[in-house]
Amino acid sequence: MTMLGWALFAAGLVLTFAAYLVDHRHAAFNNVIGLLLLISVAVGALFLIALEYLTGAVWSVPMRRIVEFIGGLVVLVPLLAIPLFFSLHQVFEWTHVNSVTQDRLLMAKAPYLNEYFFFARFVVFAALWIVFYRLFTRNSLRQDTVQEATFTRRNVRLGALFMPIFAITITFTAVDWIMSIEPHWFSTILGVYYFSGTLLAALGVATYFIITLHENGSLPNLRRDHFYSLGALMFVFTNFWAYIAFSQFMLTWYANLPEETFWFIKRWQNGWEYVSVLLIIVRFAVPYAVLLSQDAKMDPRRLKIMAIWMLVAHVLDLYWLTMPTFSSNVTISWIEISTPMLVAGVIILMVSYKMKRHNLIPVGDPKLKRGWDFHL
């Protein structure tokens, strides 16, 4: 698997470099998509860890360490953002001083949408994510050797503290990197929209690794009962995404205010309408049908396919969210896969790297045995 990781990483790196040389603006937009994908996977993994601690879940304990490895990606988020901070002018209209001074709305938003505050927000969010990642995993790893329940209790409290911070940082990440690309538009539900995609992306990556590791013997003792919860969560959040996406659309449609509708109108013209319909099919109709039955949610082969599907669907979603601003006409080129490929490689490499250095199972967790014994 590491070989695949290096291959994807190298290819992605080369493509991204080439993209920046060939079409700076397009590459920058794609970089945004890649950054949002990486944040989704990494911070979504942290959310899953916190969720397990907060709810006292038992079924996920044997698999939690894998999710922690995925969370390790948070340290790479700032790296992927570096080329973007040299390309802000290519992506964000509100960085063009001339446009801003002549635009009443952008002037009003300037206290928030200015490069300094934007940068500061990103730095603070990334720092928070990294801090929480270190704290969670330090407790979890220490518990492997010092087998005491206090580490679980500490992580539960940490989880409670993390959740509101997660909500705020994820919301403003969406506002900063998705909503501000179209600074005249606003949607109060976009944070939730990005959150639903985040969860699916993190679940997808986690599910894929967990099932693969189970199949090659590294994660024994897992049963269909365990996989059922992963499949059920994927199914549930697919429905949740559809609900939020439709809510956003319906309210905009009903109010029919030009200051909001132009965003959707753009995505219904010049070829973008095909992407919109494709998004509904790929992100909702297909996963819904495939994961509807109880047996389907427990089938490891099907779950692996849907896990990758969720990631691809998330990239499609981010593409649909950001690219219509890049070009009113649908553009698809090799640049679209450059950063996502890089991110895919990075995910594989990070998990492989962590796997070599830590236990794959949280051996010290007091709930581990109950996790092995879990039955539906």
Binding site: M250, N256, L376
Partner: protein
């Protein structure tokens, strides 16, 4: 007490692990018609009993589909076929507005009807009797024991073999359960006389009560007090006044404010000759005229009075106001047409105050000038 035929043999166990083991053994031995009863849900019991997947999900899917189709059909009929109303300027058939209701009806029918299907087809409603009711077995199992009940109608059932199996599993209080001859268990029986009878009586009673309430009770004292109030309402007769009419005439020889009759009613030529625009054109007046024009006149005559509104193409066409005829009309003629209407155009006297009508006249003149501008206007 008489005992009916044998229903099943039951045994009790002390722990959840025991019942799981018992269920595994029973299904290994090939028994299919048996059930386990536990005081709380025991994870893994379904698997141990080798229960096939329930078909109830298909019922839910079916009823959900029925719900979705019914809802969309009903909404389409109501909104686009039978009584189309323009709501919020949207098309008659607007699927985004239909989605929430359709979704809710789908969920409603799927959940409620699959529950009804469950109690009808699986629990054999309305037959609510079951041989296990009120047995010591059931009482234990509801409190602190786990139980298994192997039914006598299982093809592999044999009293001795079953008893030995239960003993080998260390089951306690191995006891038979019999059908109660009085409350017998016939299977699906929807057409039970008592059940139908109760349904019919309920339906008749509720209908009678509803009918009585809405047609009689509402008109009886004291429920009619809100309807029959002693106060005088418009257009009602009155015993107070000698002519028996509740409404009074205005005082003789007076005219209410703003109700001076239009002097040139039905006299367009005299309106043209004698009516003069009393308002001097100013920027504010023309802005006001523009606003009123766009509100009242533009839907038919177009935003710039070219007669190019949405109604263009139908007969008779709302005309352009830049024709020679209108341009040569005196202001009073335009005012007269606004006040009285003309041909298909109705009177706008009720909607537009008199001063506003003059403001509109000014604005129309401005538009006409704009349409036939002279070179000198550009300087």
């Amino acid at each position: 007490m008489n005992k009916g035929p044998l229903y099943s043999y039951t045994a009790l166990f002390d722990t959840a692990d025991d019942i799981i083991h018992a269920a595994e053994e029973a299904s290994k031995k090939g028994y299919k018609k048996f059930d386990c009863h536990t005081p709380f849900p025991v994870h893994g019991l379904d698997r141990a009993m080798r229960n096939p997947n329930s078909k109830l999900g298909y019922w839910a899917l079916f009823f959900g589909a029925v719900g979705a189709v019914s809802a969309i059909s009903l909404i389409t009929w109501i909104s686009a076929v039978d009584y189309p109303l323009v709501i919020g300027g949207k098309p008659f058939w607007s699927w985004p507005a239909f989605v929430p209701v359709t979704f809710e009806v789908t969920v409603l029918l799927a959940s409620v009807l699959s529950t009804v299907a469950m109690i009808t087809f699986y629990f054999k409603f309305p037959n609510t009797a079951h041989p296990l009711h009120d047995t010591p077995y059931m009482k234990s199992v509801s409190a602190n024991k786990f139980g298994i009940s192997i039914q006598a109608d299982d093809p592999k059932f044999d009293e001795r073999t079953v008893k030995e199996l239960l003993k080998s599993l260390h089951g306690r209080e191995i006891a038979p359960v019999f059908y109660d001859p009085v409350e017998s268990f016939h299977g699906l029986k929807l057409w039970d006389l008592k059940f139908i009878g109760v349904l019919a009586v309920t339906a008749l009673t509720v209908s009678a009560l509803t009918y009585g309430t809405l047609n009689y009770a509402l008109y009886m004292e004291p429920f009619n007090w809100m309807m029959n109030q002693p106060k005088l309402k418009a257009q009602k007769p009155s015993e107070l006044f000698s002519d028996g009419i509740g409404m009074r005439q205005p005082v003789q020889g007076t005219v209410a404010r703003g109700f001076l009759p239009y002097a040139f009613k039905g006299k367009p030529d005299e309106a043209a000759k004698y009516l003069i625009n009393p308002l001097m054109p100013s920027k504010e007046l023309i802005e006001r005229g523009k606003g009123r024009y766009l509100t009242f006149c533009s839907p038919c005559h177009g935003n710039f009075a070219r007669g190019d509104s949405r109604l263009n193409g139908q007969f008779p066409n709302p005309p352009t106001l830049h024709s020679d005829k209108v341009r040569n009309w005196p202001d009073g003629s335009i005012y007269h047409v606004i006040t009285e209407g003309q041909n298909v155009m109705p009177s706008y006297a009720a909607q537009i105050a008199r001063d506003d009508r003059w403001a509109i006249v000014h604005y129309i003149r401005v538009l006409e000038r704009a349409h036939n501008a002279k070179e000198s206007d550009l300087q």
